[in-house]
Amino acid sequence: MQPITTQSWAAEATLAETPGKLEVDDDWVRGTLRLTASGVSFVPLEGGQQRQIPIGTLLRVVTHDRRRRWKKARPCVELWAANGTKATFDCRDDRRRRAFASAAEKAVADHATGFKPSDAGIGGLARRRRRRRRRHEGLAEDTRADLKALAARAGEVVSVLKRYGDASAASAFCVADAEAATVDTSDARQLAASAARVAERLLERRPTCSLADLWCAYNRARGVALVSPDDLADACARYLAVDAPRRLADAPVAMRTLRSGVRIIYNAGDDVPGRVAAAVPAAGASAPAVARALRGPAALGLEHCLDAEAAGRLCRDAGPAGLAFFPNRFLA
């Protein structure tokens, strides 16, 4: 047995107990062998070193009768530990020896399967509930501490955002609009009016934008309550399109459909083909160059050029390097 003392073992419930003599260095010490849930411990009668075998290292409990020629046979318990040591314990009588051995074997088997007596019974249930509550309280405490730390940093984050927001105030994408956030998306008329206001801000930077750009900017302005693309497209088609019968009279923007089906938003009364033609230099330009000059998306460059060509403002040149567009001198 290892001479390690653990105070907590003394507080545990005793599963079995037998008095007797422990063989220590060719000498016998009287004491009591005690089985608890943590293992087997030996308490000497006259005090002195207590010994323990943890239940995990206990391999076997063997009972046999120790015979000496000139003495009578004594009932004996052998405890085999995992590191190869054996402890021999003479029990006082056979009944207690049998009880101890069976209890020890049961304890070893329970340890192998993971069963603990403290988990059994009503007391075990209460103990488990208390343990769970303690764990959850610990978790809540940690979360509260984390949130407090986050709130302390959030102030810094908001001040940084404000600084960048002021720097690019002209960009409609950074502005969260309280008015846009409260518009009811089921009312198409209100939705179209609100989207028109956002579009007006967006069109300060460039002459035209696509319906997808307006949808992105509008949702950014709305914040959390997003509007679906179908709703916005439907509202714009009903109330903002150039040829809509119920077009909003004072809408600052209008919507047109180009030849390929792309829908663009532009300032009402603005001449978009004229602007596109003005963006093309006299020496001609390719469609992506026109898109760059218009500060619009590259995919819309060709659409705008074709639109201006259909309006007679541009003419095309199918050269070996690709398609280019020139100001239309034929109709000038």
Binding site: G284, E309, A310, G312, C315, G319, R329, F330, L331
Partner: protein
């Protein structure tokens, strides 16, 4: 006056047009295409005048090519130019596919011929074509144009054309005015 002067400066010369790359691409827009084909007809007319050869094979004519800007009008475009010239009455498609460009309208040439005949006192007389070739508005004109002009004058009832054994003996009689 200032506007006129500005318009003169703004109007492009032949070289300006021939250096304009979109001229060599048949435009899809209807109005632009019409203007483009008119430009081509004018270019073609001035080319024929410079070469003094009024029959043009559109497939191989050099007026449709500009090596400097590496552009050429494709087959379809050349056919369109020929068709537009015929529609505008400034050219005729011949049987072998070539285009005969009219230097001027046959009616105009016919009128000039009659005026000249009146001015030189040839009304009521009969002249061979060879005599008419020496002098007058028919001199230097292409044979087909001459024939077309005489046909137009005949249709206007101002002359009568007699075909002789050879073309040199063909004659024209100018009618007097009534």
């Amino acid at each position: 006056m200032a506007e006129l002067a500005a318009a003169e400066e703004d109007a492009w010369s032949d070289e300006d047009w021939q250096a304009f790359p979109p001229l060599y691409t048949l435009q899809p827009h209807a109005a632009t295409r019409e203007a483009q084909l008119n430009v081509w007809i004018d270019l073609l007319w001035r080319w024929c005048k410079a070469q003094n050869s009024w029959t043009v094979d559109v497939a191989s004519c050099d007026v449709f090519v500009n090596e400097t800007i590496n552009r050429r009008l494709d087959e379809n475009g050349r056919r369109e130019v020929a068709k537009a010239a015929c529609r505008a009455g400034r050219g005729e498609l011949l049987e072998n596919g070539a285009l005969f460009v009219l230097e001027q309208q046959p009616k105009d040439l016919a009128r000039q011929l009659y005026e000249w005949a009146k001015a030189t006192g040839r009304l009521g007389g009969v002249f061979t074509l060879a005599e008419l070739d020496d002098d007058g508005p028919l001199a230097g004109a292409d044979a087909r144009l001459r024939t077309a002009a005489l046909d137009a004058l005949e249709a206007a009832d101002r002359c009568a054309v007699f075909t002789g054994a050879t073309s040199a003996e063909a004659g024209v009689k100018f009618f007097r005015e009534e």
